[in-house]
């Protein structure tokens, strides 16, 4: 029976307080690693908002702004891209596909996106996943619409529901295109991306509902009914942005250069990956705050253990004195307490890891469906392993403090407890 076994037995003898210390460390470790893991998964899920697209093209502005309005449906475009420019770029030999995006209208708080059938063929998110339909089919008729899953669930729409699009982005805009209602033909499966909160219509429909509008308001006296509009040839004059898929990714940079130097109109082409990175780094502060909070929680967990060890010292003076009388050296007493701290932190940390895994297994499907963040149940990453090792080392170092106290006490006490 070594000094280590002795300290294990001693800990077991004080199992209530020891378990409490272990529990508080476990909770704090669970929080720290949980925050870390959710952060990483949120980051990758953020990066997965769009995939398979090589370039995003819009009117010249900032890269982040273009990304925000074209992909995240946040904010507005400062300018449009003319149809001619779009066709010029789209017909370049390197280009495999393009998806035009036309934004500006809304339906009860959800953005309306005008696009074409290519959207359903080429738009990818996550790990190169295509959009799939929960029910229904892509839009075909002029006044057909395909809605994202959040739109369907929060507004209670089904295939066949009729909806009216509001002009502009107001929650309940007073100017509505109520003369030209849309019919829901399809509902997309949940993606965990802004697509879920989008109402998709055809580009022609965007033109159609604006045919009797000018500068944001109805042209007085001019009324063109839905049926009349169907007979007209609707050719969009401008779009907000478009996504580009290239035949070879190698040409991404040259294509980007081509677009950025396009003479007819100031355009901006961005690489989605780089822009996503840039945008994520803007959130760095929140990320750091969250991490620091969980680090402080771990510190408080370790301090809890320190309190427990320190408060146990006085009642254990007798135990130390007996050990001294049978030949234990003050160094043994020191080692005993340091080892106790190590054992408590190690068990606490491992318990935290187990707790986290159990919690993630339970919460994973809920988080996935509610927030579209898929938490992977991976094994320990190198980073997590480092964090765990650091916590155990910190716990051991903290043990030095009560150990030194016990060491001092056992030096003065000797074999007799002096009061």
């Amino acid at each position: 029976m070594s000094i280590f076994l002795l300290s294990m037995k001693s800990l077991f003898n004080r199992k209530t307080t020891a378990l409490l210390a272990i529990f508080s460390i476990a909770i704090s470790v669970m929080l720290l690693l949980g925050v870390e893991r959710i952060k990483n998964n949120a980051k990758s899920s953020f990066a997965n908002t769009i995939s398979g697209t090589d370039l995003i093209v819009g009117a010249r502005s900032g890269a982040t702004q273009l990304l925000l309005y074209s992909i995240f449906r946040i904010g507005n475009a400062t300018n449009n891209v003319t149809w001619k420019s779009y066709r010029d770029v789209a017909t370049q030999p390197n280009i495999a596909w393009t998806i035009p995006l036309s934004l500006g209208d809304s339906h009860r708080g959800f953005r309306v996106l005008g696009t074409n059938g290519d959207y359903f063929k080429h738009y990818r998110y996550g790990n190169n996943r295509l959009l799939t339909f929960l029910s229904g089919i892509p839009f075909d008729d002029l006044f057909d619409t395909v809605i994202g899953s959040d739109v369907a669930t929060s507004l209670g729409y089904q295939v066949g529901s009729s909806i009216v699009v509001a002009h502009g982005l107001g929650q309940e805009g007073f100017s509505k295109h109520q003369d030209k209602p849309f019919q829901v033909t399809g509902i997309l499966r949940k993606t965990g991306t802004p697509v879920d909160r989008t109402v998709h219509v055809s580009l022609r429909a965007i033109e159609a509902i604006h045919i009797d509008w000018k500068s944001g308001s109805r042209i007085p006296g001019k009324r063109i009914s839905a049926d009349e509009v169907r007979k007209k040839e609707l050719r969009p004059r401008a779009i907000t942005a478009f996504l580009v898929g290239l035949k070879s990714r190698l040409s991404a940079f040259s294509m980007q250069r081509y677009i950025n130097k396009y003479r007819e109109e100031p355009l901006l082409a961005i690489l989605p990956g780089a822009a996503l990175q840039e945008l994520w780094s803007l959130m760095g502060t929140a990320e750091t705050a969250l991490s620091s909070i969980s680090i402080f929680v771990v510190v408080s967990g370790l301090l809890g253990m320190l309190t427990m060890l320190l408060s146990s010292l006085n009642e254990r003076r007798r135990e130390m004195a007996i050990l001294r009388s049978v030949g234990a050296r003050p160094a043994h007493i020191f080692g005993l307490l340091v080892f106790e701290a190590t054992v408590l932190t190690t068990i606490g940390t491992l318990a935290g890891l187990v707790l986290l895994s159990v919690l993630l297994v339970i919460a994973q499907p809920i988080i996935d469906s509610q927030f579209g963040v898929f938490i992977s149940l991976s094994l320990l990453t190198i980073r997590e392993f480092t964090v765990i090792s650091l916590i155990i080392i910190a716990g051991t170092l903290i043990g030095i403090f009560p150990a030194y106290q016990a060491y001092r006490k056992s030096l003065t006490d000797g074999m007799m407890v002096r009061n």
């Binding site: 037995k9 001294r324 009388s325 049978v326 030949g327 050296r329 000797g414 074999m415 007799m416």
Partner: protein, 231 residues
């Protein structure tokens, strides 16, 4: 066995003098009774003999080893190897079993472990043998925690621990003060028998002078220690 010459002791450099023993000798195998009321420097003397503290000046030698020449680690090792202790009460470590409590000194002293193993097959066998010699039935007592034993039983376990591995010196510090008279005399009888078996020297410290008659020799700490304690 023990030779004390002109030993002075104080807790710290500027503190009051606690102990001054001009001369004191104990022969090998002697069973000596040191009579001392509390405050007579008893704890200090035992700490000095056990090598927990060393005198400021003067010499304390145990088994011809001058304690002052050993380092603190050396004195700890010396104590583990040559001295067994019995205290007034709370001698046992509550989270260890009966047998583990008895064999505890063998964890810290290789020599005592080897002495046990030269006589018995295992440490546990030897512990059991000593305990039954002291009238404790291991099989019935093992099922309970050592803190549930009666005080008389606990003191006998402590006695067993002090003699396992045959240390040359056994120091008992008021081991009977919490026992009643009948239990005290049976405890002393058993202790004497075991100490005689291992040929150890016994130093028995107590304020209870009625126990004097059991011992070869009695020394009064008040006469030994030249420092008059106040209060």
């Amino acid at each position: 066995m023990i030779k004390v010459e002109n030993a002075y002791f104080r807790w710290n450099k500027n503190g009051p003098l606690i102990l001054h023993i001009p001369e004191f000798r104990i022969r090998c195998g002697e069973q000596i009774f040191i009579k001392g009321p509390s405050g007579s420097g008893k704890t200090t003397l035992l700490n000095l003999l056990g090598g927990v503290s060393i005198p400021e000046t003067g010499m304390i030698s145990v088994m011809n080893t001058n304690m002052s020449t050993l380092g603190s680690a050396g004195r700890d090792a010396f104590r583990a190897e040559h001295i067994g202790y019995i205290f007034q009460m709370f001698n046992l470590i509550p989270y260890l079993t009966l047998i583990e409590n008895v064999t505890l000194p063998c964890r810290f002293s290789v020599a005592r472990r080897q002495r046990v193993l030269s006589q018995a097959k295992t440490l546990e066998d030897e512990a059991e043998r000593i305990l039954s010699g002291l009238g404790l039935d291991v099989t019935t007592l093992s099922s309970q925690s050592v803190s549930q034993l009666s005080i008389g039983q606990q003191q006998r376990v402590a006695a067993a621990r002090s003699i396992i591995g045959s240390p040359e010196l056994v120091i008992a510090d008021e081991p009977t003060s919490s026992l009643d008279r009948d239990v005290t005399s049976s405890f002393l009888d058993l202790l004497f028998r075991e100490v005689r078996n291992t040929k150890a020297t016994l130093i028995f410290v107590s304020h209870d002078s009625s126990l004097e008659s059991h011992f070869d020799r009695t020394v009064s700490l008040n006469e030994l220690n030249q420092v008059r304690q106040q209060g």
